[in-house]
């Protein structure tokens, strides 16, 4: 029997420390030769743990107040917050009071994020160096440009964004973390026409699109991988108490998949839409995301030579 080439794909971990650590272990755990993190790597919130002049620590997080006492409790709180993908930082009250504008908070966010990514890069190197497991991390629409910069400094992490990556001599990977426009106007969004143009450029570089793997962060429009609640003014729309689910995927992604028919499409972006669907002959997969619960949703994609022999959703 031909040796199986196995890829482990996950996406949208949004800064979860637990999920990143699981990601690094997934290669050994599942026997995968390639780890692929398909976008939205970084978190959304920084959480101050403020030390007052009396030495007491206070923190408000997700509607609850915490007053950790001692290093152990602080450490536990930090671990819990990090597990959910948020970034805690200990700060003196006077210093915290100076963070009084959005620009200063943004700058603080960036510095915390940079430090956290650097820690992740080091962790990846410690775990994967010499393992023979390739680690590909692509930024997504929610990721700042510094993600590319910091992770590229790690010798064991490859960034497949915007280029063709050779995998096993038969299969190539193309990746883009850009998405179609969202209500949140995030870092890497393009209008559908521009997104399609960008992806066409990538597909044109492929040796053999029919055996390619396309890691396109936004799922194909109306594929079942892109169902999300309809929003109005960022409020979930309901009907009779039930959320109105609508297709929010990218038409550009759908067009390029229908046109080029890669062997596999790997997607994320819509956390609730854990699903597998076929667009033409292309198997498209969105493993969904439960990063806030510390669950790493992923997919195992296995090839024997050219043939796609297995695709399976997992939740680790």
């Amino acid at each position: 029997m031909a040796k199986r080439f196995l890829i482990y794909f996950t996406t949208d971990i949004h800064g979860s420390e637990v999920c990143f650590r699981k990601f690094l272990n997934a290669g050994k755990f599942y026997g995968a030769q390639v780890l692929l993190l398909g976008g939205d790597v970084t978190g959304k919130m920084i959480v101050p743990i403020v030390r007052g002049s009396d030495g007491r620590m206070k923190c408000n997080w997700l509607g609850q107040s915490y007053e950790p006492r001692g290093d152990e409790e602080v450490k536990r709180l930090v671990t819990t917050i990090r597990a959910c993908g948020h970034y805690p930082y200990v700060i003196e009250a006077q210093e915290y009071a100076l963070l009084d504008t959005r620009e200063k908070m943004d700058a603080k966010f960036v510095s915390i994020l940079r430090a956290s990514l650097a820690e992740w890069a080091q962790l990846a190197e410690d775990r994967l160096k010499g393992s023979g497991i390739r680690c590909l991390i692509a930024p997504g629409n929610d990721d700042l440009s510094l993600v590319d910069e910091v992770l590229s400094q790690c010798p064991v992490i490859e960034n497949p964004e915007g280029r063709v990556t050779e995998l096993d001599g038969i299969h190539e990977l193309i990746a883009t973390g850009y998405s179609n426009p969202t209500p949140w106007n995030t870092e890497r969004e393009l209008a559908e026409e521009a997104l399609e143009e960008q992806m066409e450029c990538l597909f044109s570089k492929l040796r053999d699109p029919s055996h390619a793997i396309a890691s396109l962060h936004a799922p194909p429009y109306d594929s079942g991988l892109d169902m999300a609640p309809a929003l109005k003014d960022l409020k979930v729309q309901t009907s009779g108490g039930q959320p109105l689910l609508v297709a929010v995927g990218s038409k550009a992604v759908r067009h390029v998949i229908e046109k080029h028919q890669p062997q596999v499409g790997l997607h994320g972006h819509i956390h609730e839409s854990r699903a597998i669907a076929k667009v033409g002959r292309t198997i498209c997969i969105n493993p969904g995301s439960e990063y806030t619960e510390g669950i790493l949703n992923g997919a195992l994609i296995g090839f024997e030579k050219e043939k796609l022999v297995t695709w399976q959703l997992v939740a680790g």
């Binding site: 637990v18 599942y30 960022l234 108490g241 959320p243 619960e293 939740a315």
Partner: protein, 543 residues
């Protein structure tokens, strides 16, 4: 200072204001169990088989026992907000084979229920509506029509039409399905509200007068009200007004009341943005709140009807209708919609009350069909069923294959219920299977902090010193809830339709054998295809 300390959120995807509590509450009331249906059919069935029941106490206890499922499902849905339901909770926390057993039981129950509800389009909806309207407006042809279409052949044919209609609506997409569901629910509620207004404006004397005037045509007795009481007495019924309530009858009625109220835990099957990921109180409150309100509404409506029609009379007519139907001489069943339409004595108002009841059946049927489709999807994604089952049609963007399969199963169940009494023997099994997820989720809640410690620790519930306590309370309560249902089902088997207790036991054993067997066979097949199903829910160690 704590008030001024807060997190800073950068611009990023997915930060939404989740659906309001009110929205979710309405879902719990409307989609899961249109309680007017429960009022008309199940509650009054209680009077027929447990004539000395203190129905108010039974409803209260029905609410109390249901807390087990509400707490367990509520806590787990707060811990795992992006997924929903017994299959995933039990598979992840306890074992995937047991998760499949639980979910297959629920699937079986949903398919049977969908068939049963489909039969109700004629048996409880159109048939009685025509009979009521025809009898009240002096159109015997309509009365005949009403009694004709509840014959098995029409139950099946009209059921088939409704199944095709439902499949068509579903294939048009979720938006249209919800629209139709909501329209049906609100039309039904308009009729129900009109019925309530009519009853509120009616005194006992007026009711007696109206009933006598109407029933004389059929009983040839000017005092049909008291005739019903006498006839029921002669048929063996003793009245609670003379004997007092019997504890055993009240106990047996808890089974029926719980069956109407407990299913608000199905709101857990909604995932994603509708849940506030960190809000335990919200999730539990939603389920319990919908259930408590359902219970309160049931109590209020029951008290209203008792006040208007009289407890003894109500017991008598339901007893006659069930135990001695040849002595119930009226062409319509003694449900609230009949009495309200009769009192209204106005063709338009009577028509609204009579025909609006039909519209409750769509939401009740749909939720069972949707649960069954959801199960097929989950199994398909996890490799326990062919991927084809979750395929979405490229033109209609609907899961046509799953809809067709469930429609065929629904039709089969409809034919079975129309043609054979054996359906009701198996129906007892189906009801039990519907409760089993509560049992397994209760077990999952108890063991979660120990079997999936990292899971539990990652949740906000894990931060609370009382988190484990609440999980254990919910889990134990859920187990007791199901144990009580089992006890009641066996203890009152003849009244509740558990006609073969040994069959019930055999069915549970068969479910476990089938469920585990299916899981491991599927696992073996997938392994030969290169897919290891034991990896689906296996936790990756982070360290």
């Amino acid at each position: 200072m704590a008030e001024q300390v807060s997190g800073y959120v950068r611009k990023s995807t997915g930060l939404v204001r989740s659906g309001s509590f009110q929205d979710l509450f309405i879902f719990g009331l409307s989609s899961v169990s249109p309680f007017p249906m429960g009022l008309a059919v199940s509650l009054f069935w209680a009077f027929a088989v447990f004539p000395h029941t203190n129905i108010i106490m039974a409803i209260v206890w029905g609410v109390v026992i249901s807390f087990g499922g509400w707490i367990s499902f509520g806590l787990l849905s707060a811990i795992m907000p992006r997924v929903g339901g017994d299959y995933l909770y039990v598979s992840r926390i306890v074992h995937p084979a047991l998760g499949f057993v639980s979910n297959f039981g629920a699937f079986f129950s949903s398919c049977m229920a969908a068939g049963y509800w489909t039969a109700w389009y004629t048996q409880i909806g159109l048939g009685p509506a025509f009979s009521i309207f025809g009898a009240l407006t002096g159109h015997p042809g309509l009365v005949t029509l009403g009694s004709t279409i509840v014959q098995p052949i029409w139950v099946i044919l009209i059921g088939l039409v409704m199944i095709v209609l439902m499949a068509w609506v579903q294939s048009a997409g979720i938006k249209k399905t919800l629209l139709v569901q909501n329209i049906c629910f609100y039309v039904g509620m308009v009729g129900f509200a009109v019925a309530i207004v009519v009853m509120l404006a009616t005194s006992r004397d007026t009711f007696v007068h109206s009933f006598n005037a109407f029933a004389q045509t059929y009983t040839h007795d000017p005092d049909s009200y008291n005739l019903m009481l006498k006839t029921a007495g002669d048929a063996g019924l003793t009245f609670a007004s003379k004997t007092g309530f019997f504890k055993l009858d009240t106990l047996g009625s808890i089974y029926i009341a719980g069956g109407i109220i407990s299913y608000t835990f199905w709101t857990a099957y909604l995932a994603g943005e509708m849940k506030s990921a960190q809000s335990v109180k919200r999730q539990v409150g939603l389920m319990a709140g919908s259930g408590i309100v359902t219970g309160v509404l049931l109590i209020l409506c029951t008290l209203l009807f008792m006040k208007v029609v009289g407890n003894d009379f109500f017991t008598a007519v339901n007893y006659l209708n069930t135990a001695a139907p040849d002595k119930w001489l009226l062409p319509v069943k003694p449900w609230y919609n009949f009495f309200a339409a009769m009192i209204a004595n106005n063709p338009i108002v009577s028509a609204i009350i009579a025909f609006s009841f039909f519209f409750f059946i769509f939401p009740g049927t749909f939720i069972n069909v949707a649960m069954a489709v959801r199960a097929l999807f989950a199994w398909s994604f996890d490799g326990l069923a062919p991927l084809k089952l979750s395929e979405v049609n490229e033109k209609t963007h609907s899961p046509i294959i799953a809809i067709v399969i469930i429609s065929v199963l629904t039709l089969g169940a409809t034919i079975w219920t129309a043609l054979s009494a054996t359906f009701f023997t198996v129906w007892g099994v189906a009801i039990l299977f519907a409760y089993l997820p509560i049992l397994f989720v209760g077990i999952a809640a108890i063991v979660l902090p120990f079997r999936r410690k990292e899971f539990y620790d990652a949740s906000l519930l894990g931060k609370s010193s009382a988190g484990k306590v609440w999980l254990i309370i919910g889990g134990v309560w859920a187990i007791l809830e199901v144990a009580l249902i089992l006890f009641l089902g066996f203890r009152f088997s003849s009244q509740l339709g558990w006609t073969s207790w040994w069959m019930i036991l055999l069915a549970v054993v068969a479910l476990f054998v089938f469920g585990y067997g299916y899981y491991y066979i599927a696992k073996a097949i997938r392994k030969r295809q290169g897919r290891d199903l034991s990896l689906v829910f296996k936790q990756i160690p982070p360290e």
